[in-house]
Symmetry: C2
Subunit: 664 residues, 2 copies
């Protein structure tokens, strides 16, 4: 150990160097490019730069590392510890000075680029790389002898203390500056967006920087309020999309706009009001200030995206379904009339094609198929299913017109997923008796606790399970026919004019799965499967490594039943799983990780868009996919784990010609 | 002449090169970097690229140049000529193809960077270099097979046809894009701001790009509507600054804001309303559309600048008079609530110091002292005088607290410059009889046509002339005393308690120049002169080469009388002149010339700011400058052309001790 120089090693980065004794740990870290957080710039105020000395590391690293190789805490550090409390052995890197060789550990919470923990093991972890960072600076006071604007002196301080130069300044931040400087006695905290623009200024030290990730769906709008410096979700809130009064589904809203000139502004207004209301709920729930919300990200399908931004969506209603833009859109929150910080920015993720929107970009970002060697199939099921297939080499995307059956529409007892809706169904293979569960109750229908539960209808996941179970119990044939001959075995099979139905619930309202319901689901799942196969054809593959079902519906359906019904191509059952609200997660990643924006913009550019409507093979795949699970594909991987009903074709009805299954 | 290649020379640039026969003149010009205007991109629509063949040039240039060395006009060019008319010998460069050696003359109106003619010979000419340019493009139609956003296809067209890449897009332009493309059948005109951002889109071909230069004074606000592609002023309009109801002068408005918390928003609101109203008047007067206004520039003193932008001006009301910013401010017109094109931008010129604002930056830009070897003194006289001194080597600036006397305040018969105010005064050296002229009349008071003219008071330029004439007639002594002994020679000298007055107009209201008036003007002009001298001291010079008097007041005072009174340091009389509304001209230059913005930002950065309040020599200069023209400076250059009254000191009054004139 030299008298003048000490040796320091940082863990976990492993970076090491020699510094003059007396150098602060923070300066040493910066000199070595070690990632340590700090807002206050070495003033022992923010406490973000806490480090520990690893006493046990010396043997391995050849360094005699001891806690007393840092100079004792000075008054600033002691005051911070007194006021905020500090864990035993922790030191503030900004004030702790090196006096001897030492190994310094930077705990995850002291790193700027730390990871946000996501529960699921399989999913992509989010690395923090905040789009907005806060910087506390002390600005030179103005002097008569040296006239200079407040902004210029702020720039000098930002350059001197943080090396920040050439920043743009939002007019709102400029307006706030003179007051903040004087109220803060020339100490202010500024928010810097994307390393390029000053968007907010507060008097004195300020350490709250929040963001909101919005997922604007055609039915529901959801928002997540996040702490930009920890990645933590502070509050989540959702609301029905108020545009529903202009049309249940997207296309009816576009028609409304087409038929009522000038109404586009109305649709834009109500969805912005909805976002504004959610902002209020989110900050209230978290006990936060709206003016601390500095960044907003948005995902949504193309039509919602355009309407939110005030762009005419009518070209999306007719072929060739041209987007106004497929690029990421950056604007100010005030341009969307969001009541957050007046300097806050909005980032709307890029879009892929006329029916494949920023929501799908969000799903890609959350699931990261482009980062993996595995061939992943991502399916986001709605009125239109958005499908992405590929891996790090190639990514393909398409949308498939599944129609509204999966959302419970066009189904006899169908309803939206809401309390009272049947969502889970099991049918005994022998007795053909059903058990089910409804949303809002934990009990199954054959349990005492179920007594008195109101059953109002059946939602999308319920109808999927019902038909899949009917198939497994032999009630529905592979061609999709409800077998009337079973009426002799159970009174649940009832004749309905020329076809049969299956009584799932006899109470009022009576829930019967009709032949028409089965046909509606066959059409929907046929379209979905055909879209997936089309992408597989394009990629020249016969199987995929894993399937992720995204979106509200995708998260609710049981992968097993989805596979039995043949919604998606055959796959190992344990590699088919729900992705949850992946679009919303994508919006959250774009909120917390600056590089993710560049990443998704690049990925979206190279996604190969497949237009199902002009692909001749789509119809061919669609017809084969009408069978259960499929007319010609034996679904061998599924069959290996599930006993398909061994039966001869029986009963009345159409669709027989579609049956080409090789298994007897 | 080669069979394949032809030789072309462009005048006046002199650029020359060889091109394949069949090349269009426009392509050849672009290849050689010759400046030819074009909006339509070679479609014979805009007619801006008209050129002539110089048949007589061959001898000098060694080229056999003939009109028929261009291929005959095709259908597009003929159609243009039929529809719009074209001068004999003119051709459209975009469609005229080279078939033989030729000398092509590009007339001024076909150059992008042509000069805007300014009448005054001495002043700086404005070169057009528009901040906003229009580009007509034909965009590929969307296709189902190749999904791509409208914006992406627009970008492709802008790159292909104009080489424009990496443009930002204003959200308002994005909103307009889908409709414009479809209405224009995939042909649109876009406005590109500063070569970096698409700010507007129109269906089809559009050729109007307008801008407004605003000069926001504390008393009046003036706007000039300009054609950005010709530089022509289409309309000018002015209005009283409605903030006057919150205080006549700037400081009383700042006091109002200090005393009435929240009132700043009110002052901001009314001045923005004033600008909005002027926009309406300007476009109405020119028969133009507001949505064709794509660019706005603003000059104003620091307080007006801050209030317009919504920035708290109160720090400007107390030492050290700190500006919120001294940088140029760029924002969107909609952020100032101006009803012009929603994508229009605003550029507020940079400020220099707490009392030296963007108006002074405008004066510098208009007068260009930094471009000259001559030592120029620029003086903008108001309640505060802003003074700039220097040349290409150094520039200094200061403000001097002249007070409101020059505006007619604190003067017994004083009033603002308005109809009825005496603005010109002559006094017969022998009879001591006055003649005067009032605003709104061409006749002098001793002419028959003057009969019945109402005289309401005397304005600033009138009082300057009156006192200067009184001095030249011997009525006022060099010390500023009205000589009571002359009462015996003329009844116009009247006793007023212990001092005397001079009756300028005996009609009602009686206008008398009192001793108090003379003192008020002495104080004001003393401050102005002292400020000028201070800058001369700093620069180490004893004389300046020329003096330019700017601003409404500066333009109205007669340089001769200003010099006689010693408002400014001694100078050759023919080198003292009025600069007109130089601040407004500066705003117009910043509107029409992109490079002028960079230029003024750089110049302002290197201006040396002199704070008169902390300069000990200011008081010294001020005392000496109380004399007329000056207590110690003989004003030799002025004296060489004007017979100063040869007299001995007489009459009562103070100020005698200040008299050190060497001339007897």
């Amino acid at each position: 150990m030299s008298a003048e120089e000490v040796h320091v090693v940082f863990t976990p980065s492993g970076r090491r160097g020699r510094f003059r004794a007396g150098t602060s740990v923070l300066d040493a870290a910066r000199g070595l490019g070690v990632d340590i957080d700090a807002v206050c710039g070495g003033r022992a105020i923010c406490g973000r730069c806490q480090v520990e000395v690893s006493e046990g590391e010396h043997a391995k690293l050849g360094i005699d590392s001891r806690a007393d190789h840092l100079a004792p805490a000075g008054p600033g550090e002691l005051a911070y510890a007194r006021e905020h409390g500090m864990r035993e052995g922790r030191r503030l890197a900004c004030t702790a000075c090196l006096v001897g060789d030492v190994v310094v550990d930077v705990p995850p919470e002291s790193q700027v680029h730390r990871q946000v923990v996501r529960k699921e093991a399989e999913v992509r972890q989010i690395e923090l790389d905040p789009v907005v960072r806060l910087y506390y600076v002390e600005v030179r006071e103005p002097a008569l002898e040296r006239p200079s604007g407040d902004l210029r002196r702020l720039r000098e301080a930002l350059e001197r203390e943080w090396g920040l130069v050439g920043l743009e300044v939002d007019p709102e931040a400029l307006r706030a500056l003179p007051g903040a400087l004087r109220e803060g006695r020339w100490g202010v905290t500024v928010a810097v967006h994307d390393g390029t623009a000053i968007t907010a200024v507060w008097p004195g030290y300020h350490d709250q920087a929040l963001g909101i990730a919005f997922d604007v769906g055609s039915t529901t709008v959801a928002g997540h309020l996040c702490d930009l410096s920890s990645g933590e979700v502070l509050a989540s809130a959702g609301a029905m999309n108020p545009q529903i009064r202009f049309g249940e589904d997207l296309m009816s809203r576009v028609s409304y706009v087409m038929l009522n000139p000038g109404s586009q502004a109305e649709l834009t207004k109500v969805v912005r009001e909805c976002l504004r209301k959610l902002v209020g709920e989110l900050v209230a729930a978290a006990g936060a200030r709206r003016t601390d919300v500095l960044e907003v990200t948005v995902v949504g399908n193309p039509i919602m995206h355009h309407l939110l931004l005030g762009i005419d969506p009518t070209p999306l209603g007719v072929a060739p379904f041209a987007l106004a833009t497929d690029e990421a859109v950056r604007l100010r929150a005030r341009e969307l009339e969001l009541k957050v910080h007046p300097g806050a920015r909005v980032y709307a993720l890029p879009l892929i094609a006329g029916h494949v929107g920023a929501d799908t970009a969000g799903v890609i970002l959350a699931e990261g198929p482009h980062l993996s060697d595995e061939l992943t199939l991502l399916v986001d099921v709605g009125t239109n299913a958005e499908i992405v297939l590929g891996n790090r080499d190639r990514l393909l995307a398409a949308s498939s017109p599944t129609g509204p059956a999966f959302e419970g529409a066009q189904i006899s007892g169908g309803q939206r997923a809401a309390p009272g809706a049947i969502e889970r169904v099991r049918i005994d293979r022998e007795t053909l008796e059903p058990r089910f569960r409804v949303i809002g109750t934990e009990a199954w229908s054959d349990e005492p606790a179920f007594e008195g539960t109101l059953v109002t209808g059946i939602c999308g996941s319920g109808i999927i399970e019902a038909i899949a179970e009917m198939f497994l119990a032999g009630i529905v044939t592979p061609a999709g026919v409800i077998d009337g001959s079973l009426a002799s075995r159970t009174p649940r099979i009832v004749r309905q004019e020329r076809t049969f139905g299956y009584v799932l619930s006899g109470a009022q309202p009576r829930i019967v799965i009709t032949q028409h319901d089965v046909r509606a689901i066959q059409l929907a799942k046929g379209a979905l499967y055909a879209g997936c196969r089309l992408l597989m054809d394009r990629l020249g593959v016969e199987r995929v490594d894993r399937i992720r079902l995204a979106g509200a519906f995708g998260s609710h359906i049981d992968p097993f039943h989805a596979l039995v019904l043949g919604l998606v191509p055959d796959c190992d059952l344990d590699r088919v799983s729900a992705a949850g609200n992946a679009a919303g997660t994508g919006a959250r990643i774009a909120l917390l990780n600056r590089a993710a924006r560049t990443e998704i913009e690049e990925v979206v550019r190279r996604v190969e868009k497949v237009e199902t409507a002009v692909e001749p093979r789509f119809q061919e795949h669609f017809i084969g996919a009408m069978g259960i699970p499929h007319a010609t594909d034996p679904f061998e991987r599924l069959a290996a784990v599930v006993p398909f009903p061994r039966r001869t074709e029986a009963g009345a009805g159409a669709g027989r010609e579609g049956r080409r299954r090789s298994r007897a």
